[in-house]
Amino acid sequence: MIVRDQPLELQGLQWLGDPGPEHEIVLSTRVRLARNLQGFPFAERAGPDDKRRILDRTIETLESSIVLGEADLWTLDGLDPIDRTVLLERHHVSRELLGADEDGPPASAAYVLGRESGVGVMVNEEDHLRLQTLKSGLQLDSAWRDVEALDEELGSLLPFAFHHEFGFLTSCPTNVGTGLRASVLIHLAGLVLTKEIQRVLEGISQVGLTYRGLFGEGSEVVGNFFQVSNQTTLGKSEEDLVEHLSRIVSQVIQYEQRARGVLLREAPAVLEDKVWRAYGILRHARSLSLEELMNLLSGLRLGLTLKLLNTPRVETLNRVMIFGQTAHLQRAAGRTLDEADADVYRASFVREMLATDEPSARSG
């Protein structure tokens, strides 16, 4: 069953409750599959009527989906601009689905999210359908299985565009074949501090993977958070792509652990100072930009996982990362905030969050 236009609350944030496997280094895992319907032009050529029919047909099918289960549906143009950005900040929708500021969202752009399953579908993005899921920590296999189950079910009910040689057809040839993009958001503060990061990133690029910032394609790297994903989608099976990413990420985790070990051994006082300074600023600052917040959270996360302090918990840091973003703050404030106001509001929110989760030093 699909419920339309419910107020946006905490839907799709179940992953914040449990930091998941390898959470000391990996924040989250996402898997998405690009699919298009036969008989309709791709987004570039589809008119408003095509897109409306694509949306109607998709909703009709999703209504009966067992894999998706009970779900929420939001049409992007029916959401206020703050709520649209909230969905972006939660990594539920892409910038493309939000549309350019001056034009607004593409016609009939929608997002459907399974309440229990946590699996979602973006409709009328660059491809007609983008099936996806987001999980905490490193959970590539399970994320892939969840998305694949929905793909199997939808594929038996909807006619997907498929070519015997090129596989699943997508608007952009960089996604054709499997249509699969699996990515892992990974915190590499140790490798950045030991200056080994560039070498590791070059290594990643040489083995068919790519990296991006926190918000996908074209976004900057902030707070030492890197999104590592498969670069190619054709010529390998989905399982091979997922397995390859998983293997390389495991290696990167080992490098990061080694780098953290070196830092602890070689420069414990400097490291401890950095971590506690980050905590001090976050706990007491009266104005915080998003970038500063992300950078300081990186220091705090590093200290936490190296047991230089024992709280706040990783769950708290993950919550701050999501709810400390501008649209989330605006939503909490119930109004649009200009940049300076948002920075003040952000600092106040962070102080409050950390106050509920006071740390104590390892050595007291």
Binding site: F42, R45, F168, T174, V176, T178, G218, K236, A267
Partner: protein
């Protein structure tokens, strides 16, 4: 905050490193960070369009002319595709397959899909492809267990089916 290097532009990156047990902090703009090889800037979007424009210069003029015939279904031409990096519809893949195949090989290192098959693909080519894929898996298994008799039979069947597809 000003960039430590050029003292002109606004610093965008705050880099902390540890050297000889001493913590150093550098505030750099993107340009100076790149100049030091420290910039972790992410490539701008749409590198594919540049890539396609570059590839176009490799094509002979004869090929370019035939490529200008638009897709009969959606009207997309090859130069539309080169400009936007996006195809107009599923039929474009058939219309431009001659140009797409080398592009896909350069992008993905392959042009043949080996992942999931679509159960709804009921075309003759799709059916042949599904049979071929299944036989290739069986051939590999036969080779793995050194069942060379079955492997030889399968190899011949695959060959026949491939010839059928080429006709």
């Amino acid at each position: 905050m000003r960039c430590d290097d050029c003292q002109e532009r606004e610093a965008q990156l705050n880099l902390t490193s540890i050297e000889d047990g001493e913590m150093c902090t550098l505030n750099l703009c993107q340009e100076c960070a790149d100049a030091r090889g420290l910039g972790m800037s992410v490539p701008e979007k749409a590198p594919l369009a540049d890539f396609l424009a570059h590839m176009a210069s490799d094509e002979s003029s004869e090929e370019s002319e035939s490529a200008e015939e638009p897709c009969p279904y959606c009207g997309t031409t090859h130069s539309d595709f080169r400009r936007s990096g996006r195809l107009g519809c599923a039929q474009c893949y058939g219309r431009f397959e001659g140009q797409l195949r080398p592009l896909l090989r350069r992008l993905h290192g392959a042009s043949q899909h080996v992942g999931k098959l679509y159960q709804g693909d009921t075309t003759e080519a799709g059916d042949r492809f599904a049979r071929l894929a299944s036989m290739r898996v069986r051939l590999q298994r036969a080779v793995d267990v050194e069942d060379f008799e079955s492997a030889a039979t399968l190899r011949d069947l695959i060959h026949e089916l491939e010839l059928e597809g080429a006709e």
